[in-house]
Symmetry: C2
Subunit: 170 residues, 2 copies
């Protein structure tokens, strides 16, 4: 359960990082005198989600990881955010939800059978759900959000991506 | 140790997926009559690594995750690949190295103290090393490689990114 909780904790950290990338994007837009909503609608390919949807997907991915592995019903978030304040609020809602989980909620999570939403009748063990589906998907949307901002000239680097580390002295 | 090994197994799967994205890129280049090396040198921002370096980083990230958590000395790979065949060979070398690890190699890995290469004198527990640094970094480079190909018109979708899942019947 400690190991599964470590994944949830990392998702929370990455969402804190994502907030900082977004605010750097807003500052960049202000400095260049364009509406930050332009960034929310930016994408890397015409048939790929824009930034706002990448952020929604980061939030939903973290929400479903925690809920499914703790065997709880997640709240519904219909992905209607369009403005900066709406997407900021969505991020806060997600962080507050993740904060409701404790390590003990993930007791036995590795072996719990989790339904795969897009493959009716199929399940994954909690362990496979976490490593094969949720973490790749979570970091996919986080990295794509970061890449959209980088591609649009926002001053971001790897330390912004990684954020705080629980380092200690040797 | 099972949980840490699940992360290594996922890194192997993602590298198999990456090979398929690269070959889709090569097919795309052939269909459009351009040299696939153009894709290897493509990047999303002028000060970000091109595709070839993203692939090298995926390989190195997986290599260091396994080696550090198993307390082994990883082989050195100097990132000199420039051609398609060279980067294909690098991927094979990485896969073969990852195949040398067994679940038992990660006994006690969560609590092992791992030095942080870019922060002299600082360490992370194996658990934090895995979730806070290595997995975010690994998926960062994998997703960026994918995004460079997508941005250049290669026909990739989320199922290419995720690859095979260990699903079973409910």
């Amino acid at each position: 359960m400690t190991l599964v909780y470590a994944a949830i904790k990392e998702q929370k950290q990455m969402i804190v990082n994502l907030e900082a990338w977004l605010e750097k994007g807003v500052a960049h837009a202000k400095a260049r005198s364009f509406d930050p909503v332009v960034l929310l609608n930016a994408r890397l390919a015409p048939d790929q989600y824009p930034l706002v949807r990448q952020i929604q997907s980061v939030c939903d991915s973290a929400k479903f990881t925690a809920a499914r592995l703790a065997d709880k019903d997640p709240p519904k978030h219909p992905d209607t955010e369009q403005t900066l304040d709406e997407i900021r609020a969505r991020i806060q809602t997600c962080k507050a939800y993740l904060d409701t989980f404790k390590p003990a909620d993930f007791e036995g999570a590795e072996k719990r059978l989790v339904p795969v939403a897009f493959m009716p009748g199929k399940v994954l063990t909690g362990l496979d759900f976490l490593f094969e589906l949720q973490l790749p998907n979570f970091f996919f949307h986080a990295t794509t959000a970061y890449a959209i901002l980088r591609h649009n000239g926002v001053d971001l680097g790897k330390t912004d991506y990684i954020g705080n580390l629980s380092v200690r002295d040797r």
